[in-house]
Chain length 236, copies 2
DNA sequence: GCCAAAAGTTAGGTCACACTAACTTATTTT
DNA sequence: AAAATAAGTTAGTGTGACCTAACTTTTGGC
């Protein structure tokens, strides 16, 4: 057994394998092909290592691989990826709500626990905190039977001046950024209005609550928004 | 990183290494020497594998090894073992109390989580359920700074007829046995009186609560007892 | 105190997962 | 369309953790 996990029904996957599948899913959003280099970059390993692993995963039927062209998840691979994603996000939500974990550190902790927790544990966690639909960063939690909300949202960087919207999701990996976003109270559920945008990728001025401030486009790109009907005019 | 865990301060140990240390600690109870074969048996691996690993662990300073004689934990090895043991038992207690996990399955789940959970998580779990001192099977939980209650208790198999005692601990690995013990309500905290013992390792008759029944010596050996003052006489 | 049985070790092999260096295929530029 | 660059692959290594088979050391019975 060693690092692998055994689970009722399906074969057990090792932690690295689960990480590959998650990465490939994240790149291709479940359907598109993933490039070797991009997988390597996400997992912080050498491209050559990916070639080798990808072959094995293809042999196991988890993905479709064509030499020199990318890989795509098979149905079985997609299911495995979503199972891991569900674990990850339920664990994040649980750490945050039940154990008071700060939202900038849940990702890192979940990254390890997702490979060790059983489905039963994950389901109990989900039940205990009331079957959450999103994790603390707003990412949707796949259901037990493997479906996810794959709605694409606009990033704050693309939002036109004068537009208002609600933050639905922020990217979860960089703790420092998360702490900064929390300071600005740019968190899922918050209403935001884009007051103005300086040209040439300049700062974007926002109003959040009764505060007003500017952020750079790099940060804004990490915030996803559900736009609201524009009823503020553009007098500001 | 792969299967290893990084923790503030101390070097990260892999899951197998933590398992070796736990096994060696369990055998030598922290001080005595552990035999290669016994380690192998506990970890369900070949004795030859133990020889190899034990050498590496000795090189790392986790244990003292003399060829053809057993191994003993060094102070550093003992600390690592107790850290893992604390994780394990806190997790068991948490699963049981906070998530309603049945007591016959917490061991198996904790066996995997103990290698993935950070010290911070374990401490939060402990705090959330009120800093428990024992796990659901009655095993003492090591403190953060690495001390444990190492009191030795009498097993129910050694208890003389007419003696009464309180169950302090039952062995935790066999789920089926745990379910049976729960049925008999032989659980930590319960008062038990040994009514009689048949000779030649025969059945032991007990009274627990208002019930009376007999169990075999093999089962009784897995129940540890804190004896009470004998005030019942031996008329029974 | 010798000799068989038990306990422990070395030798040599495997598998998963990473690496670097060198090579091949694909894409882009001119 | 040729050359330059980027992307991807193979070849060869290393490490951790296991295995079996064959050998050595220790122990316990007589």
């Amino acid at each position: 057994m060693s690092t692998a996990r055994q689970e009722s029904g399906t074969e057990m996957l090792t932690a690295p394998v689960e990480d590959y599948l998650k990465a490939i899913y994240a790149i291709g959003k479940g359907s598109g092909p993933a490039a070797t280099n991009e997988i390597a970059q996400r997992l912080a390993i050498a491209p050559a290592s990916v070639s080798g692993m990808v072959r094995r995963l293809a042999d196991q039927g988890l993905l479709a691989y064509e030499r020199y062209h990318g890989v795509k998840l098979t149905e079985s691979g997609r299911r495995a990826a979503l199972r891991t994603l569900r674990r990850h996000r339920v664990i994040e939500a649980y750490l945050s709500r039940a154990l008071g974990y700060p939202w900038d550190r849940v990702h890192y902790e979940a990254e390890r626990l997702e490979h060790a927790a059983s489905d039963e544990l994950v389901d109990r966690m989900a039940a205990t905190i009331g079957e959450p639909e999103v994790d603390p960063h707003g990412a949707p939690i796949p259901t037990r039977d493997g479906s996810v909300d794959e709605t694409e949202y606009t990033s704050l960087a693309q939002l036109a001046a004068g537009t208002a919207g609600v933050v639905v999701r922020v990217s979860d990996e960089d703790p420092e950024m998360l702490r900064y976003l929390a300071e600005l109270s740019i968190v899922p559920g918050k209403k935001i209005t884009v007051k103005s945008r300086a040209p040439y990728d300049g700062p974007i001025t926002l109003s959040v609550g009764r505060q007003e401030f500017s952020i750079g486009p790099a940060l804004a790109a990490n915030v996803l928004i559900a736009p609201l009907a524009d009823r503020g005019g553009r007098r500001g």
